[in-house]
Protein backbone atom coordinates (compact mmCIF):
# COMPACT_ATOMS: atom_id res chain seq x y z
CA UNK A 1 0.00 0.00 0.00
CA UNK A 2 1.37 3.43 -0.92
CA UNK A 3 3.04 4.94 2.13
CA UNK A 4 1.80 8.37 3.17
CA UNK A 5 4.97 9.89 4.57
CA UNK A 6 5.66 12.76 6.92
CA UNK A 7 9.41 13.48 6.81
CA UNK A 8 11.08 15.24 9.75
CA UNK A 9 14.46 16.86 9.19
CA UNK A 10 16.52 19.53 10.91
CA UNK A 11 19.02 20.43 8.24
CA UNK A 12 19.85 19.50 4.65
CA UNK A 13 17.84 16.30 4.61
CA UNK A 14 19.81 14.50 1.91
CA UNK A 15 17.81 11.38 2.69
CA UNK A 16 14.59 13.23 1.90
CA UNK A 17 16.00 14.07 -1.53
CA UNK A 18 16.99 10.42 -2.01
CA UNK A 19 13.48 9.26 -1.09
CA UNK A 20 11.90 11.80 -3.47
CA UNK A 21 14.13 10.51 -6.25
CA UNK A 22 13.22 6.87 -5.60
CA UNK A 23 9.53 7.79 -5.67
CA UNK A 24 10.00 9.69 -8.93
CA UNK A 25 11.92 6.76 -10.41
CA UNK A 26 9.06 4.40 -9.55
CA UNK A 27 11.19 2.32 -7.17
CA UNK A 28 9.41 3.36 -4.00
CA UNK A 29 5.65 3.11 -3.55
CA UNK A 30 5.21 6.19 -1.38
CA UNK A 31 4.13 9.81 -1.31
CA UNK A 32 5.68 12.46 0.90
CA UNK A 33 2.68 14.39 2.19
CA UNK A 34 4.63 16.87 4.28
CA UNK A 35 8.18 17.80 5.24
CA UNK A 36 8.51 19.26 8.72
CA UNK A 37 11.53 20.94 10.23
CA UNK A 38 12.20 22.25 13.71
CA UNK A 39 14.60 24.76 12.15
CA UNK A 40 13.27 27.74 10.19
CA UNK A 41 15.41 28.09 7.06
CA UNK A 42 16.56 24.45 7.04
CA UNK A 43 17.67 23.71 3.45
CA UNK A 44 15.40 20.64 3.36
CA UNK A 45 12.36 22.96 3.32
CA UNK A 46 13.35 24.66 0.10
CA UNK A 47 14.19 21.34 -1.51
CA UNK A 48 10.78 19.94 -0.58
CA UNK A 49 8.92 23.04 -1.75
CA UNK A 50 10.71 22.82 -5.11
CA UNK A 51 9.42 19.26 -5.41
CA UNK A 52 5.88 20.48 -4.74
CA UNK A 53 5.69 19.03 -1.25
CA UNK A 54 3.93 20.84 1.61
CA UNK A 55 6.34 22.11 4.26
CA UNK A 56 5.83 23.11 7.84
CA UNK A 57 8.12 24.66 10.42
CA UNK A 58 7.53 23.70 14.01
CA UNK A 59 10.11 25.97 15.62
CA UNK A 60 11.58 24.29 18.67
CA UNK A 61 12.60 27.66 20.09
CA UNK A 62 8.90 28.50 20.56
CA UNK A 63 8.32 25.64 23.00
CA UNK A 64 9.82 25.17 26.41
CA UNK A 65 7.86 21.96 26.98
CA UNK A 66 9.01 19.00 24.88
CA UNK A 67 5.66 17.26 25.10
CA UNK A 68 3.74 20.36 24.04
CA UNK A 69 6.09 20.57 21.06
CA UNK A 70 5.48 16.94 20.16
CA UNK A 71 1.71 17.41 20.41
CA UNK A 72 1.94 20.22 17.86
CA UNK A 73 4.19 18.06 15.67
CA UNK A 74 1.77 15.16 15.93
CA UNK A 75 -1.13 17.36 14.92
CA UNK A 76 0.77 18.48 11.80
CA UNK A 77 1.69 14.90 10.89
CA UNK A 78 -1.85 13.63 11.39
CA UNK A 79 -3.30 16.64 9.58
CA UNK A 80 -1.21 15.70 6.54
CA UNK A 81 -2.74 12.23 6.55
CA UNK A 82 0.59 10.53 7.14
CA UNK A 83 0.69 6.87 8.12
CA UNK A 84 4.48 6.69 8.24
CA UNK A 85 6.99 9.02 9.86
CA UNK A 86 10.48 9.26 8.35
CA UNK A 87 13.20 10.83 10.47
CA UNK A 88 15.99 12.16 8.26
CA UNK A 89 18.56 13.99 10.32
CA UNK A 90 15.91 15.12 12.78
CA UNK A 91 18.03 16.33 15.69
CA UNK A 92 15.44 16.05 18.46
CA UNK A 93 14.46 13.06 20.54
CA UNK A 94 10.77 12.22 20.17
CA UNK A 95 8.79 11.96 23.39
CA UNK A 96 6.43 9.04 24.12
CA UNK A 97 3.52 11.35 23.21
CA UNK A 98 4.66 11.11 19.59
CA UNK A 99 6.21 7.64 19.50
CA UNK A 100 3.13 5.96 20.94
CA UNK A 101 0.89 7.55 18.31
CA UNK A 102 2.72 5.78 15.43
CA UNK A 103 3.74 2.36 16.76
CA UNK A 104 6.03 0.52 14.30
CA UNK A 105 5.50 3.32 11.76
CA UNK A 106 8.36 5.66 12.66
CA UNK A 107 11.71 4.99 10.99
CA UNK A 108 15.10 6.55 11.57
CA UNK A 109 18.49 6.37 9.90
CA UNK A 110 21.63 6.61 12.02
CA UNK A 111 25.18 6.94 10.67
CA UNK A 112 26.74 4.03 12.52
CA UNK A 113 26.48 0.26 12.76
CA UNK A 114 24.17 0.34 15.77
CA UNK A 115 24.38 -0.38 18.64
CA UNK A 116 27.86 1.16 18.28
CA UNK A 117 27.94 4.93 18.52
CA UNK A 118 24.37 6.02 19.17
CA UNK A 119 23.56 9.67 19.73
CA UNK A 120 24.18 12.95 18.01
CA UNK A 121 27.91 12.58 17.48
CA UNK A 122 27.88 8.98 16.26
CA UNK A 123 30.05 9.59 13.23
CA UNK A 124 32.70 11.58 15.09
CA UNK A 125 32.64 9.07 17.95
CA UNK A 126 33.43 6.28 15.48
CA UNK A 127 36.43 8.19 14.13
CA UNK A 128 37.72 8.93 17.62
CA UNK A 129 37.36 5.30 18.64
CA UNK A 130 39.49 4.25 15.69
CA UNK A 131 37.10 1.72 14.15
CA UNK A 132 38.00 0.43 10.69
CA UNK A 133 34.41 -0.24 9.62
CA UNK A 134 31.41 2.00 10.01
CA UNK A 135 28.13 2.45 8.21
CA UNK A 136 24.50 3.15 8.70
CA UNK A 137 21.43 1.59 10.29
CA UNK A 138 17.75 2.05 9.42
CA UNK A 139 15.59 1.08 12.37
CA UNK A 140 12.15 1.41 13.86
CA UNK A 141 11.95 4.13 16.47
CA UNK A 142 11.04 3.22 20.00
CA UNK A 143 11.18 5.32 23.12
CA UNK A 144 14.88 4.80 23.73
CA UNK A 145 17.20 6.78 21.46
CA UNK A 146 18.77 4.78 18.60
CA UNK A 147 17.65 1.49 20.15
CA UNK A 148 14.67 0.30 18.07
CA UNK A 149 14.56 -2.91 15.99
CA UNK A 150 17.02 -2.91 13.07
CA UNK A 151 15.62 -3.19 9.53
CA UNK A 152 18.75 -2.92 7.39
CA UNK A 153 22.41 -2.06 7.87
CA UNK A 154 25.19 -0.98 5.54
CA UNK A 155 28.93 -1.02 6.16
CA UNK A 156 31.82 0.87 4.54
CA UNK A 157 35.55 0.94 5.33
CA UNK A 158 37.04 3.65 7.55
CA UNK A 159 40.51 4.76 6.47
CA UNK A 160 43.19 5.73 9.00
CA UNK A 161 43.24 9.25 7.57
CA UNK A 162 39.46 9.72 7.75
CA UNK A 163 37.80 12.52 9.63
CA UNK A 164 34.09 12.76 10.33
CA UNK A 165 33.84 14.92 7.20
CA UNK A 166 35.55 12.48 4.85
CA UNK A 167 33.74 9.45 6.24
CA UNK A 168 30.23 10.93 6.18
CA UNK A 169 29.75 11.05 2.37
CA UNK A 170 30.72 7.37 2.13
CA UNK A 171 28.08 6.54 4.72
CA UNK A 172 25.46 8.82 3.17
CA UNK A 173 25.87 7.22 -0.24
CA UNK A 174 24.67 4.01 1.37
CA UNK A 175 21.92 5.70 3.40
CA UNK A 176 20.45 6.98 0.15
CA UNK A 177 20.00 3.35 -0.91
CA UNK A 178 19.08 1.55 2.30
CA UNK A 179 16.52 4.07 3.58
CA UNK A 180 14.31 3.99 0.46
CA UNK A 181 14.75 0.19 0.39
CA UNK A 182 13.56 -0.12 4.01
CA UNK A 183 10.53 2.05 3.19
CA UNK A 184 9.69 -0.04 0.14
CA UNK A 185 9.75 -3.19 2.29
CA UNK A 186 7.42 -1.42 4.73
CA UNK A 187 5.10 -0.44 1.85
CA UNK A 188 5.04 -4.06 0.73
CA UNK A 189 4.14 -5.23 4.25
CA UNK A 190 7.23 -7.42 4.35
CA UNK A 191 8.74 -6.37 7.69
CA UNK A 192 7.80 -8.58 10.62
CA UNK A 193 8.89 -7.43 14.06
CA UNK A 194 9.29 -10.07 16.76
CA UNK A 195 10.73 -8.75 19.99
CA UNK A 196 13.79 -6.82 18.93
CA UNK A 197 14.39 -8.71 15.68
CA UNK A 198 12.99 -7.82 12.28
CA UNK A 199 12.43 -10.46 9.64
CA UNK A 200 12.22 -9.54 5.97
CA UNK A 201 9.50 -11.72 4.49
CA UNK A 202 9.86 -13.25 1.00
CA UNK A 203 13.39 -11.95 0.45
CA UNK A 204 14.02 -11.91 -3.28
CA UNK A 205 17.80 -12.12 -3.11
CA UNK A 206 19.48 -14.75 -0.96
CA UNK A 207 21.94 -13.17 1.45
CA UNK A 208 24.72 -15.42 0.26
CA UNK A 209 24.62 -13.93 -3.23
CA UNK A 210 26.69 -10.97 -4.36
CA UNK A 211 23.51 -8.92 -4.05
CA UNK A 212 24.70 -7.94 -0.58
CA UNK A 213 27.92 -6.26 -1.55
CA UNK A 214 29.56 -4.24 -4.25
CA UNK A 215 32.03 -1.64 -5.29
CA UNK A 216 30.90 1.97 -5.60
CA UNK A 217 32.73 5.11 -6.72
CA UNK A 218 33.68 5.59 -3.06
CA UNK A 219 34.85 2.04 -2.47
CA UNK A 220 33.44 -1.29 -1.33
CA UNK A 221 30.22 -1.66 0.65
CA UNK A 222 28.04 -4.39 2.08
CA UNK A 223 24.36 -4.31 2.93
CA UNK A 224 22.20 -6.78 4.85
CA UNK A 225 19.55 -7.83 4.03
CA UNK A 226 20.55 -7.50 0.35
CA UNK A 227 19.19 -4.56 -1.63
CA UNK A 228 16.50 -5.37 -4.17
CA UNK A 229 17.13 -2.93 -6.98
CA UNK A 230 18.03 0.11 -4.86
Amino acid sequence: MTLQIAALASRVGTNVAAIIKCIDDGLLDAKINIVISNQPGAPVLEKAAQAGIAVYVCNSDDYSDREAYDRELLSAVKGAGADTVVLAGYMRVLTPVFVQAYPQRILNVHPSILPSFPGRMGNEDAINYGVRLSGSTVHFVEETLDKGPVIIQAVVPVHSTDTGKTLMPRIQAMEHRIYPQALQWLAEGRLKIEGHRVTLLSAKIPSISLGSSGQGPMGPWMVSPPLEGF
Copy 2:
Protein backbone atom coordinates in the same frame (compact mmCIF):
# COMPACT_ATOMS: atom_id res chain seq x y z
CA MET B 1 61.32 -9.47 12.79
CA THR B 2 60.01 -12.97 13.46
CA LEU B 3 57.39 -12.82 16.20
CA GLN B 4 57.98 -15.08 19.18
CA ILE B 5 54.42 -15.90 20.17
CA ALA B 6 52.82 -17.16 23.35
CA ALA B 7 49.23 -18.14 22.56
CA LEU B 8 46.64 -18.24 25.35
CA ALA B 9 43.44 -20.20 24.75
CA SER B 10 40.74 -21.74 26.91
CA ARG B 11 39.06 -24.11 24.52
CA VAL B 12 39.40 -25.26 20.90
CA GLY B 13 41.61 -22.38 19.79
CA THR B 14 40.67 -22.45 16.11
CA ASN B 15 42.62 -19.22 15.69
CA VAL B 16 45.75 -20.94 16.97
CA ALA B 17 45.35 -23.55 14.25
CA ALA B 18 44.86 -20.79 11.66
CA ILE B 19 48.03 -19.05 12.83
CA ILE B 20 50.01 -22.29 12.71
CA LYS B 21 48.81 -22.87 9.15
CA CYS B 22 49.80 -19.36 8.03
CA ILE B 23 53.26 -19.84 9.54
CA ASP B 24 53.61 -23.20 7.78
CA ASP B 25 52.46 -21.65 4.51
CA GLY B 26 55.14 -18.97 4.78
CA LEU B 27 52.60 -16.15 4.99
CA LEU B 28 53.27 -15.20 8.59
CA ASP B 29 56.74 -14.45 9.94
CA ALA B 30 56.24 -15.88 13.40
CA LYS B 31 56.93 -18.82 15.67
CA ILE B 32 54.60 -20.06 18.37
CA ASN B 33 56.92 -20.77 21.30
CA ILE B 34 54.23 -21.93 23.68
CA VAL B 35 50.50 -22.53 23.92
CA ILE B 36 49.04 -21.97 27.36
CA SER B 37 45.57 -22.85 28.57
CA ASN B 38 43.81 -22.21 31.83
CA GLN B 39 41.75 -25.37 31.21
CA PRO B 40 43.35 -28.80 31.57
CA GLY B 41 42.18 -30.90 28.64
CA ALA B 42 41.42 -27.93 26.38
CA PRO B 43 41.48 -29.28 22.79
CA VAL B 44 43.93 -26.53 21.79
CA LEU B 45 46.62 -28.25 23.85
CA GLU B 46 46.48 -31.46 21.87
CA LYS B 47 46.43 -29.57 18.59
CA ALA B 48 49.53 -27.61 19.62
CA ALA B 49 51.36 -30.70 20.84
CA GLN B 50 50.66 -32.41 17.51
CA ALA B 51 52.29 -29.43 15.79
CA GLY B 52 55.35 -29.83 17.99
CA ILE B 53 54.66 -26.75 20.10
CA ALA B 54 55.34 -26.64 23.84
CA VAL B 55 52.18 -26.54 25.92
CA TYR B 56 51.52 -25.48 29.47
CA VAL B 57 48.45 -25.63 31.67
CA CYS B 58 48.06 -22.91 34.21
CA ASN B 59 44.92 -24.18 35.93
CA SER B 60 42.78 -21.30 37.07
CA ASP B 61 41.12 -23.52 39.67
CA ASP B 62 44.41 -23.67 41.56
CA TYR B 63 44.50 -19.91 42.20
CA SER B 64 42.10 -17.84 44.25
CA ASP B 65 44.08 -14.67 43.57
CA ARG B 66 43.86 -13.34 40.00
CA GLU B 67 47.14 -11.48 40.26
CA ALA B 68 48.99 -14.48 41.60
CA TYR B 69 47.61 -16.43 38.65
CA ASP B 70 48.76 -13.78 36.20
CA ARG B 71 52.25 -13.71 37.74
CA GLU B 72 52.54 -17.45 37.11
CA LEU B 73 51.23 -16.96 33.57
CA LEU B 74 53.72 -14.16 32.97
CA SER B 75 56.57 -16.29 34.16
CA ALA B 76 55.58 -19.05 31.69
CA VAL B 77 55.27 -16.55 28.82
CA LYS B 78 58.60 -14.91 29.59
CA GLY B 79 60.25 -18.29 30.14
CA ALA B 80 59.24 -19.26 26.60
CA GLY B 81 61.00 -16.18 25.22
CA ALA B 82 57.77 -14.70 23.85
CA ASP B 83 57.73 -11.10 22.69
CA THR B 84 54.08 -11.23 21.58
CA VAL B 85 51.02 -12.58 23.35
CA VAL B 86 48.12 -13.84 21.27
CA LEU B 87 44.77 -14.31 22.97
CA ALA B 88 42.66 -16.83 21.09
CA GLY B 89 39.45 -17.51 22.94
CA TYR B 90 41.13 -16.95 26.28
CA MET B 91 38.17 -16.62 28.62
CA ARG B 92 39.85 -14.74 31.45
CA VAL B 93 40.44 -11.03 31.84
CA LEU B 94 44.13 -10.21 32.19
CA THR B 95 45.10 -8.15 35.21
CA PRO B 96 47.38 -5.08 34.95
CA VAL B 97 50.22 -7.26 36.29
CA PHE B 98 50.22 -9.05 32.94
CA VAL B 99 49.05 -6.28 30.59
CA GLN B 100 51.71 -3.84 31.76
CA ALA B 101 54.47 -6.38 31.15
CA TYR B 102 53.72 -6.53 27.40
CA PRO B 103 52.66 -3.02 26.34
CA GLN B 104 51.36 -2.96 22.77
CA ARG B 105 52.36 -6.60 22.33
CA ILE B 106 49.17 -8.36 23.43
CA LEU B 107 46.53 -8.95 20.76
CA ASN B 108 43.01 -10.27 21.05
CA VAL B 109 40.29 -11.25 18.62
CA HIS B 110 36.67 -10.62 19.53
CA PRO B 111 33.64 -11.93 17.58
CA SER B 112 31.86 -8.61 17.05
CA ILE B 113 32.36 -5.29 15.36
CA LEU B 114 33.66 -3.58 18.47
CA PRO B 115 32.69 -1.46 20.32
CA SER B 116 29.36 -3.26 19.82
CA PHE B 117 28.87 -6.36 21.98
CA PRO B 118 31.99 -6.62 24.12
CA GLY B 119 32.28 -9.35 26.71
CA ARG B 120 31.92 -13.09 26.87
CA MET B 121 28.55 -13.36 25.16
CA GLY B 122 29.25 -10.94 22.30
CA ASN B 123 28.04 -13.26 19.55
CA GLU B 124 24.78 -14.18 21.30
CA ASP B 125 24.21 -10.56 22.28
CA ALA B 126 24.43 -9.55 18.61
CA ILE B 127 21.82 -12.14 17.65
CA ASN B 128 19.50 -11.05 20.44
CA TYR B 129 19.84 -7.40 19.46
CA GLY B 130 18.78 -8.24 15.92
CA VAL B 131 21.73 -6.71 14.07
CA ARG B 132 22.00 -7.49 10.35
CA LEU B 133 25.79 -7.17 10.23
CA SER B 134 28.34 -8.61 12.60
CA GLY B 135 31.94 -9.66 12.36
CA SER B 136 35.21 -9.67 14.21
CA THR B 137 37.79 -7.27 15.57
CA VAL B 138 41.50 -7.78 16.20
CA HIS B 139 42.77 -5.24 18.69
CA PHE B 140 45.59 -4.47 21.06
CA VAL B 141 44.78 -5.38 24.64
CA GLU B 142 44.67 -2.67 27.24
CA GLU B 143 43.44 -2.86 30.79
CA THR B 144 39.77 -2.39 29.93
CA LEU B 145 38.07 -5.45 28.45
CA ASP B 146 37.59 -5.40 24.67
CA LYS B 147 38.48 -1.69 24.51
CA GLY B 148 42.01 -1.51 23.10
CA PRO B 149 43.03 0.13 19.80
CA VAL B 150 41.55 -1.61 16.74
CA ILE B 151 43.95 -3.11 14.17
CA ILE B 152 41.58 -4.73 11.67
CA GLN B 153 37.88 -5.51 11.44
CA ALA B 154 35.83 -7.88 9.31
CA VAL B 155 32.09 -7.86 8.68
CA VAL B 156 29.66 -10.55 7.53
CA PRO B 157 25.88 -10.51 7.10
CA VAL B 158 23.57 -11.78 9.82
CA HIS B 159 20.47 -13.56 8.53
CA SER B 160 17.13 -13.31 10.27
CA THR B 161 17.18 -17.04 10.94
CA ASP B 162 20.67 -17.02 12.45
CA THR B 163 21.44 -18.27 15.91
CA GLY B 164 24.75 -17.81 17.69
CA LYS B 165 25.72 -21.25 16.41
CA THR B 166 25.01 -20.56 12.74
CA LEU B 167 26.59 -17.09 12.80
CA MET B 168 29.82 -18.09 14.56
CA PRO B 169 31.39 -20.15 11.72
CA ARG B 170 30.85 -17.23 9.32
CA ILE B 171 32.67 -14.93 11.75
CA GLN B 172 35.42 -17.45 12.47
CA ALA B 173 36.18 -17.93 8.78
CA MET B 174 37.12 -14.24 8.74
CA GLU B 175 38.99 -14.39 12.05
CA HIS B 176 41.23 -17.05 10.57
CA ARG B 177 42.29 -14.50 7.95
CA ILE B 178 42.38 -11.20 9.85
CA TYR B 179 44.21 -12.46 12.94
CA PRO B 180 47.23 -13.83 11.05
CA GLN B 181 47.16 -10.68 8.89
CA ALA B 182 47.27 -8.42 11.95
CA LEU B 183 50.19 -10.43 13.33
CA GLN B 184 52.07 -10.19 10.05
CA TRP B 185 51.67 -6.40 10.09
CA LEU B 186 53.02 -6.42 13.66
CA ALA B 187 55.97 -8.57 12.54
CA GLU B 188 56.68 -6.06 9.76
CA GLY B 189 56.60 -3.16 12.24
CA ARG B 190 53.82 -1.50 10.28
CA LEU B 191 51.31 -0.79 13.05
CA LYS B 192 51.53 2.71 14.51
CA ILE B 193 49.37 3.44 17.56
CA GLU B 194 48.42 7.05 18.21
CA GLY B 195 46.00 7.51 21.06
CA HIS B 196 43.21 5.05 20.32
CA ARG B 197 43.76 4.91 16.54
CA VAL B 198 46.03 2.48 14.71
CA THR B 199 47.57 3.38 11.38
CA LEU B 200 48.77 0.71 9.00
CA LEU B 201 51.99 2.02 7.47
CA SER B 202 52.76 1.46 3.78
CA ALA B 203 49.46 -0.23 2.98
CA LYS B 204 49.97 -2.27 -0.18
CA ILE B 205 46.35 -2.32 -1.26
CA PRO B 206 44.34 0.90 -1.41
CA SER B 207 41.14 0.60 0.62
CA ILE B 208 39.05 1.67 -2.34
CA SER B 209 40.05 -1.41 -4.31
CA LEU B 210 38.15 -4.67 -4.29
CA GLY B 211 40.91 -5.99 -2.04
CA SER B 212 38.67 -5.13 0.92
CA SER B 213 35.75 -7.34 0.07
CA GLY B 214 34.81 -10.60 -1.54
CA GLN B 215 32.55 -13.56 -1.74
CA GLY B 216 33.40 -16.69 0.23
CA PRO B 217 31.73 -20.08 0.45
CA MET B 218 29.70 -18.69 3.35
CA GLY B 219 28.73 -15.44 1.62
CA PRO B 220 30.02 -11.91 1.22
CA TRP B 221 32.54 -10.31 3.56
CA MET B 222 34.42 -7.04 3.91
CA VAL B 223 37.68 -6.36 5.74
CA SER B 224 39.37 -3.07 6.62
CA PRO B 225 42.22 -2.38 6.18
CA PRO B 226 42.34 -4.65 3.12
CA LEU B 227 43.94 -8.07 3.46
CA GLU B 228 47.33 -8.50 1.83
CA GLY B 229 47.33 -12.09 0.66
CA PHE B 230 45.60 -13.65 3.67
